[in-house]
């Protein structure tokens, strides 16, 4: 499945016409919002935590060079091989080279948006390396040849029935829509793969600069097996995923689970400290970490928009978004979706390709409210809208209209005439003007051409006259 951010308008229409999808998204987001609220309401210092997380991330992002160097040194000291990739192509090349060197034929993957971002799966498949997703949602999405439609729940756009049918068709099992049975079917297939895979690939939730460790949180133990069983492990992370030390990790672990899944804590917190421990005799023989830039350093250059790099991909802003709730994630046309996706799309893909994304928002602010790191998403969307306009990607007619209107509004007399005139015309026309797209489903009132100012001043005059009569 290949989506394009520039096609978002047609994706939105498609999604709105797809009742099954809408029902699934509606149900899933409702549940997520409720579960999150229950957990968050029970933490009296939630707001303080959000502020702290914001401040920590600001420090990290503003001193990213220092933290990255510190991380590299520490990770290397731990025996982790550190690779730097400037873009997706370089990251893929590095991964491929490691695979070839180790004669890798099969790979198990645990959920990682960063590897979606670099389109790793198709790349590996094209080179005869089998890459299997092991997170249940990702596994389903991969079977369907879809991309994830949510940051933490990749198959959120599907119903239980959809999944039952899919398993029946693709895996040849009897149809069932019982979640536990579906889970066992997937588990039985995945377990074998874990044991035979030559390499594991994961993402990273938090990399710890002070100790050179990688933290990966999850609920299904598939990441644990992905990391622990194969001989070679590669972790792919965006360069923004750093934290200074384990002390800060505590803040983020407290915030992440309630925000993402409405849990108090994620079931597993995996920490990779390095390769095979000689004393314990467990774990992969090689651990590689790929530090991916792929446009992040460009985002870093903007003192306001760099805040979008604070994101910990919890998905709370998606669940809270009244637009996401209607259309789901594919409508945005890229691997990052929802409110935060709308800010990332033009920044990663360029304002031309991403010219619509910042406008797919009513600026209601529910996302900011939900974000555990306090990313002021509506504000960033506004700034990105400005960038789209500045770079000449708004419609010519809109530009002319706004320029003319803004000119008139500088001169009250002109403005008054300009706004009085349509009122007069409308009186003759006897119907409100149709606004394309707006008035079909919504009635509008009539301009009466008089307005508040006239009425108010007339009232005042009348009062004045009355008063003078009294005198």
């Amino acid at each position: 499945m290949n989506l394009k951010a520039s096609h978002t308008k047609s994706y939105i229409k498609q999604a709105l016409n797809n009742d099954v999808l809408r029902a699934a998204v509606d149900k899933a987001t409702r549940t997520a919002v409720k579960k999150r609220a229950d957990k968050v309401d029970a933490i009296p210092y939630w707001e303080e935590l959000r502020y702290r997380a914001h401040v920590i991330k600001r420090d990290v992002i503003e001193h990213l060079d220092t933290y990255l160097q510190q991380f590299e040194t520490q990770a290397q000291a731990n025996g982790i091989k550190v690779h730097w990739a400037i873009d997706a192509a370089e990251a893929r090349k590095i991964i491929h080279a490691i695979a070839v060197k180790n004669n890798v034929k099969t790979v198990v993957k645990s959920k990682s948006l960063t590897t979606e971002e670099i389109h790793l799966n198709t790349f590996l498949m094209d080179r005869d390396i089998q890459a299997l997703e092991t997170d249940l949602g990702e596994y389903i999405v991969q079977l369907l040849d879809h991309i994830p439609s949510h940051l933490t729940a990749p198959a959120l756009h599907l119903s239980r029935q959809d999944i039952g049918k899919l398993f029946h068709e693709k895996l040849g099992v009897d149809y069932t829509e019982n979640p536990n049975e579906l889970l066992s079917i997937a588990r039985a297939r995945l377990r074998k793969k874990f044991l035979t895979a030559d390499m594991g690939i994961s993402g990273v939730n938090f990399a710890i600069a002070e100790s050179g460790c990688l933290t990966i949180v999850e609920n299904e133990a598939n990441a644990r097996l992905t990391i622990g069983l194969p001989k070679v492990h590669i972790a792919v992370m965006g360069i923004e995923k750093l934290l200074p030390s384990f002390r800060e990790l505590a803040v983020f672990l407290k915030l992440l689970a309630p925000s993402a899944t409405g849990q108090k804590q994620t079931v597993y917190v995996n920490i990779i400290g390095g390769p095979l421990h000689t004393l314990l005799g467990e774990g992969p023989e090689q651990v590689h970490v790929i530090l991916l830039d792929n446009g992040r350093s460009k985002i870093l250059a903007d003192p306001q928009l760099r805040e979008t790099l604070f994101c910990i991909r919890c998905g709370a802003c998606l669940n809270a978004c009244p637009i996401y709730q209607q259309v789901g994630g594919h409508a945005y046309g890229w691997v990052y979706m929802g409110p935060i996706g709308a800010t990332l799309i033009p920044q990663y893909l360029g304002v031309k390709e991403g010219r619509y994304a910042p406008f797919v928002s009513s600026l209601c602010g529910a996302c900011f409210h939900a974000c555990p790191v306090r990313i002021d998403i509506p504000h960033h969307l506004l700034k990105l809208r400005h960038k789209v306009v500045e770079s000449g990607h708004s419609k010519a007619i809109e530009k002319i209209g706004i320029k003319a209107w803004a000119f008139l509004a500088r001169y009250p007399m002109l403005y008054r005439v300009a706004t009085w005139f349509p009122g007069k015309v409308q009186k003759l026309y006897k119907k409100p003007f149709p606004v394309p797209g707006y008035t079909k489903e919504r009635a509008v009132g009539l301009f009466d051409g008089k307005g508040f100012r006239r009425r108010y001043l007339d009232n005042e005059k009348a009062k004045g006259a009355k008063n003078s009569k009294l005198i």
Partner: protein
């Protein structure tokens, strides 16, 4: 106490009665009304669409016109948010920065002004109907005004105030969003109106004419029973009922 009126475009042209109601209520509590002639638009529609330099002159005019007033009050949260918060994103003339700060501290949305500034506890008034309240997004999340309108509604005698499901759910208006992504916007207002109807209220009260226009438009076009009403109209009507 002297209150300068800031009448946003929609109130001026489409909902002048609501703005007049605001004047009535402000006069009722003893405020001296000051109408600043020559006001036009704060620039919000263009700003939200990504146009900045086109509206510098509008923002500068606005600041010059209003910054020396004692209080500035408007019947709209989003226009107040524009002046109080988003004027900081505009590259306005340096010599006006101090005036901008000053204005940001004295411009208020109507219900915010009544409750937080004037500290009105009881306005009096009667309104024997069932009402619900829609939280406009900018008012609620940008200005943090959530309780104030509810507090005012609850002081009205005989009113039956019920909360709808998700009162702070966006109505889907979003200015130019409502026609740029019309299908999406309509799907959102459809949901909002469903919740309004389900509340069983006769009136859906709001504090921002733009959201009310969107909601009212959908309710009317689809022959739904609930009417919309600006909170200024609600209070003014209740006072006359007394």
């Amino acid at each position: 106490m002297k209150v300068a009126l800031f009448i946003p475009c929609l109130s001026e042209h489409l909902y002048p009665e609501s703005a007049l109601s605001m004047v009535k209520v402000l006069s009722h509590i003893g405020a001296e009304i000051d109408y600043v002639d020559g006001q036009t638009c704060c620039g919000q529609p263009a700003f939200n669409s990504g146009y900045h330099k086109e509206i510098f002159p509008l923002a500068e005019r606005f600041i010059e016109l209003f910054h020396e007033k004692e209080y500035v009050v408007a019947p709209s949260g989003s226009c107040v948010a524009m002046v109080r918060k988003f004027y900081y994103d505009l590259d306005i003339r340096r010599d006006l920065h101090a005036a901008r700060d000053e204005l940001a501290g004295k411009i208020f949305e109507f219900t915010e002004f009544l409750v937080d500034v004037v500290k009105v506890e009881k306005l009096g008034g009667v309104f024997p109907h069932r009402v619900t309240y829609h939280d406009s997004c900018h008012l609620n999340r940008e200005l943090g005004v959530h309780e104030q309108p509810r507090q005012l509604i609850r002081t009205i005698k005989d009113i039956d105030f019920v909360e709808m499901q998700q009162p702070d759910l966006c109505c889907g208006f979003g200015g130019t969003f409502s026609y740029k992504f019309k299908e999406l916007s309509i799907s959102m207002v459809e949901r909002k109106c469903r919740y309004i109807e389900e509340s069983g209220a006769e009136y859906c009260i709001g504090a921002d004419s733009s959201c009310l226009m969107n909601i009212e438009g959908y309710l009317r076009r689809h022959n739904m029973r609930t009417k919309t009403m600006h909170i200024a109209d609600l209070i003014a009507t209740s006072l006359t009922n007394e």
